[in-house]
């Protein structure tokens, strides 16, 4: 389908989006290109497919009809003066290890906070992982307050006192939340996201807000208004995206764990490119209240850290039903950490052939085959399967995510400048929802989505998990996609199915390409089988060392 400039102007008017003269022909070209790619879903057989409202179709838990007085003010913080911190090194330590040292009194929370703060101040210049971070005095005072609570025995969480970075699309009271967009300038949320609240309750310290693709739209973290994030393994390369800052900060050792958000792979793909572990939980597991929505039916917040155990520990903090998010589910009370037995004897793992050929980089294929071998040695069975939905998950994802985004972003002032990628997606979303195209694109994509869910359901009747690449390749060079907007079109083909079907998916470091860049293997589980997925990752990491490798700081230009 060819989109003319006049057509673009009409769509922009419908979307109440202002376009520059430069953008009009550019958008006409980009929309035409993408629509050509999307045509493939018309051929997907969706006859007799029952539409589902969203993955898992949770029961609507309503609110009792009680009025609460408006806008309670946050109590002023006590501002405990911090004792002078001792100099410590956190290199190589995981979140759980740091937490254990704090509980044991080997480190104080203030020592840890100071080390993290100084590390960010010193080393983030090269990486640009953080958009903002608190003043040193404030940060250390918060750590001191947590240390006092630990001393009084009030905080026994295994992660109390551990600093964590937060992707800058998650609201934190009184701290500018930018989504790396100029359009969000001046937005200071008057409330905490549920995840931020839960982190605080567990005694974790917000170490700052992390850089990302503008409004989470992208897979390179280059579209940020605050400049691109660089990959700590090779600073001329991208870290992946959209949670590029979240992955790079962990890889660079700035913080040991971070929160990201994943709409189509935004946690897993950067985790893969940065050699860290990243987890996208089942849809409805973690509250989205306070996450600036990209595509509400796909978005999920999740952890990035060095290993699956840290991810499980953070999930224990984040997960659970939230009265402020109707799409959250009541979960079984067992903790995720409790699932990490490391025993995967007899587990059945499916290996889609689509992940071992086609456009997939041969080093990646080799790493996935090797990972399959590792699982076999751990006592699991691995069998090849076909997963045809991988061929049309991307178009369905593009249509649904941009449709929802075009509506979600309507609350953000559109007279301000959005970047080209955001503009493209708003235009596409407006187009596919328009009365004339609704049936052909939006409705068809919903049917395809339901079909994909069904395909996975069938797979999980016979298997416990699916093993496949996270990404087709390793981290691309900065600016590689500049001239070709479809350069990254297939970058998410292995990650979007988990979002469309609401499934838990974990990326674990599984090797390096010949240029020394990290490769991540992806483990996708059945709906709400998050514990199983984390345990598979944990078992894998108990016999592999990839997740313990750290980039060499001097390495600045890659060889390739």
């Amino acid at each position: 389908m060819k989109i003319t400039q006049a057509c673009i102007e009409q769509i922009a008017e419908r979307a109440t989006l202002w376009l520059s003269e430069r953008q009009k022909p550019l958008m006409a070209k980009r929309l035409s290109e993408i629509l050509e790619r999307l045509a493939v879903i018309q051929g997907v057989d969706t006859l007799g497919i029952q539409l589902e409202h969203q993955a898992g179709s949770p029961e609507n838990i309503m609110r009792p009809d009680t009025a609460v007085p408006t806008m309670a003010q946050a109590p002023p913080s006590k501002n405990t003066p911090a004792a002078k911190p001792r100099s410590i090194t956190l290199t190589g330590l995981t979140a759980l290890q740091i937490g254990a040292k704090i509980q044991a009194g080997i480190f104080s929370a203030v020592d840890v906070a100071a080390a993290v703060w100084d590390g960010i101040a010193e080393q983030d210049r090269d990486i640009n992982a953080f958009i903002s971070h608190p003043a040193r005095k404030t940060f250390l005072a918060e750590a001191a307050e947590i240390q006092e609570q630990i001393n009084r025995g009030e905080l026994t969480s295994p992660l109390a006192g551990v600093p964590i970075g937060i992707k800058d699309n998650i609201c934190t009271t009184g701290v500018a939340t930018t989504c790396a967009s100029q359009a969000m300038a001046g937005f200071v949320p008057p409330y905490d996201a549920t995840v931020a609240e839960r982190l605080k309750k567990a005694g974790m310290l917000a170490a700052g807000k992390l850089n990302m693709d503008e409004l989470a739209m992208g897979s390179t973290s280059e579209t940020s208004y605050f400049g691109p994030v660089r990959n700590p393994w090779a600073v001329d390369r991208v870290p992946g995206g959209s949670s590029g800052g979240s992955a790079a900060a962990v890889a660079a050792g700035l913080v040991c764990c971070t929160l990201g958000s994943d709409t189509g792979g935004s946690i897993r793909q950067p985790a893969s490119h940065c050699g860290v572990t990243g987890f996208k939980p089942s849809y409805g597991t973690v509250s989205r209240h306070g996450l600036i929505a990209y595509a509400s039916s796909l978005d999920q917040i999740g952890p990035l850290a060095h290993d699956a155990a840290d991810c499980a520990a953070i999930m224990d903090v984040l997960a659970g039903q939230d009265a402020k998010d109707s799409t959250t589910l009541e979960l079984p009370s067992a903790t995720y950490l409790a699932h990490l037995t490391g025993d995967i004897q007899g587990m059945r793992i499916a290996l889609p052939e689509e992940g071992l050929g086609g456009g997939v980089n041969e080093d990646v294929v080799a790493s996935i085959r090797q990972a399959a071998e590792t699982f076999r040695t751990l006592g699991a069975t691995v069998e090849y399967i076909r997963l045809p939905c991988l061929d049309y998950a991307i178009p369905a994802y593009y249509i649904l995510s941009t449709a929802e985004a075009s509506s979600n972003l309507a609350r953000i002032d559109r007279c301000r400048n959005f970047g080209d990628e955001v503009v493209k997606r708003i235009l596409l979303g407006t187009f596919v929802l328009s009365a004339e195209q609704h049936e052909r694109y939006y409705q068809k994509a919903r049917r395809v989505r339901a079909q994909i869910s069904r395909q996975f359901e069938q797979v999980f009747q016979a298997y416990d998990a699916v093993l496949m690449p996270t990404s087709q390749g390793t981290a691309p060079l900065l600016g590689a996609g500049e001239d070709n907007s479809l350069h990254n079109y297939l970058a998410d083909m292995f990650t979007v199915p988990a979002n469309l079907a609401g499934l838990p998916a974990l990326t674990v470091p599984a090797g390096f390409d010949r240029g020394g860049l990290p490769i991540g293997a992806q483990i996708v589980g059945g709906r709400l089988m998050d514990g199983t997925v984390l345990n598979l990752g944990h078992a894998f990491q108990s016999v592999t060392e990839y997740h313990k490798k750290r980039p060499v700081k001097e390495a600045s230009v890659s060889e390739r």
Binding site: E13, N60, M62, R63, Y191, S326, I412
Partner: protein
């Protein structure tokens, strides 16, 4: 040209829940701007809607009361459009799966003729913010609404008004809305087209908004019918458009609309899971439906022997009907209670500009007063003074009668003496009466009552007068 207007209605009703549709801000009218809003209803990025269970319950009740079929699967959709009073850039509404479908409402025209109108659907949605000269007030944003959509089933303003009164009464009986048109809690949009009688299908329709009273609805229908007829008679075409009724100038003006205003790009609201209603839930709500005005009118006539006209006045308002029935049960004469409710009570409400809800009068007190009249302890004239005292918060009927000496004079000797004095003072009137002008009898009653400071027992005065006048020949 022989023509009929074809009229359909869209009625937006604000539900009187405690809190808003998707957040816990209070629902109320008036007050300082932006005092009942929060990040959710102001559309602050990152916030999510959580459905108020009462909104659903109220909407189900309305659907059942209007004979609709309550859908076992219902969901919210986003209606996307850009307008300053829409903080999120979309309205959470229902489109593909409204809560209630179908339904038929029978109502009575002023001449007693019965008519019916079809209900196409009733759906739930959130109200918008309010734009004012000083800015945007979010107090109204997110207030729960139901929209009742009728078929094009009306042919006259008279039928529309009768239907609206009926709908309003039903909603008031359900106690799910204040239904105050001036305050915007009951808003009516009129869709109107003209069907020349020789044609099968109606012509192009227009939609009229901003009708803030029944009077405005009637005037707008009249005006729009004439406007369209004139266009058609002069060979023109009626344009499909939304018009705004200007009450001051009593005319309608086209509203400025965008080219694509009609394309709302609906899609399922991903932040709110769909709702599945069980048969048990729906049946439970059905069992909780109250007795509505028409049935209650018939029952009050049958059970209490009051006149149908009185019963209709009483049941026009549920609170008044409840007050009447409780008082009538406690009092010796239901008719006496009905007399007070339809007369003095209505009068007091009118002159004090109060709603029945604001009335301080308890049924027990009303019964005591009615009994005092029935028993001849006070006459009606004096009792009106007692009633005024009760309406301003008083409760002690007998005490008040005692303190103010309002007790009825029944002493026959005193009454006879007063009668004697009056007849002696007006010999010419007595002559007139004797000549057959019996209507002057009332004059004598009034004069005697005045002599007795208004406290005389009217029955006793009458019989004393009759007796005395009968002897004068």
């Amino acid at each position: 040209m022989n023509v009929d207007p074809v009229i359909g209605l869209e009625i937006h009703v604000e539900l009187s829940t405690q809190s808003k549709a998707f957040c816990s801000c209070a629902v109320a009218f008036g007050g300082a701007p932006n005092t009942r809003c929060c990040p959710v209803c102001c559309g602050v990025p990152g916030t999510l809607p959580v459905l108020n269970e009462k909104m659903l319950e109220y909407a189900v009740l309305a659907g059942l009361a209007f004979g609709c079929e309550i859908q076992s699967y219902t969901r919210f959709d986003r209606k996307n459009y850009c307008y300053p009073d829409l903080p999120k850039g979309y309205q959470i509404s229902q489109h593909a799966h409204p809560l209630c479908r179908g339904g038929e409402v029978a109502f009575t025209l002023p001449d007693g003729k019965r008519e019916t109108a079809g209900i196409c659907e009733i759906h739930m949605e959130e109200d918008t913010a309010k734009q004012s000269a000083t800015g945007i007030d979010y107090n109204r944003a997110g207030v729960p609404l139901i929209e009742i959509v009728t078929g094009p089933d009306f042919r006259s303003a008279e039928a529309v008004l009768a239907f609206l009164s009926h709908v309003k009464s039903v909603l008031e009986y359900l106690e799910i809305s204040d239904c105050r048109m001036q305050e915007g809690s009951f808003r009516v949009d009129v869709n109107l087209s003209i069907k020349p009688s020789h044609r099968e299908t109606p012509g192009t329709r227009t939609e009229m908004k901003n009708l803030s009273s029944f009077r405005a609805v009637a005037a707008a229908i009249e005006h729009e019918s004439q406007r369209q007829i004139q266009i058609l008679e002069s060979g023109g075409q009626v344009e499909q458009e939304t018009r705004r009724w200007d009450e001051t100038n009593r005319c309608s003006v086209p509203m400025r609309t965008k080219v694509d205003a009609g394309d709302y790009r609906y899609f399922p609201e991903p932040d709110i899971p769909p709702i599945r209603l069980t048969t048990e839930y729906i049946e439970g709500q059905k069992a909780a439906l109250p007795e509505f005005a028409p049935a209650l009118t018939a029952r009050l006539v049958a059970d209490y022997g009051i006149a149908p006209t009185d019963a209709r006045i009483i049941t026009a308002n549920k609170q008044i009907a409840t007050l009447f029935e409780s008082a009538a049960k406690a009092a010796k004469s239901a008719q006496e209670v009905a007399r007070w409710v339809t007369g003095e009570l209505m009068y007091q409400l009118h002159i004090q500009g109060m709603t029945p809800a604001e009335l301080a009068l308890s049924p027990a007190t009303l019964a005591v007063l009615a009994d005092a009249v029935t028993d001849g302890i006070v006459n009606r004239t004096a009792a009106k003074q007692v009633f005024g005292y009760l309406c301003s918060g008083g409760t002690d009927v007998m005490g008040y009668i005692g303190i103010h000496g309002l007790g009825q004079m029944s002493d026959e000797a005193v009454i006879t003496a007063a009668v004697e004095q009056v007849l002696t003072a007006h010999p010419s009137v007595v002559t007139a009466y004797r000549d057959g002008q019996t209507k002057v009898f009332g004059f004598f009653v009034g004069e005697v009552m005045q002599k007795l400071d208004g406290k005389g027992n009217p029955a006793k005065i009458r019989s004393a007068l009759q007796e005395r006048l009968g002897t004068i020949h």
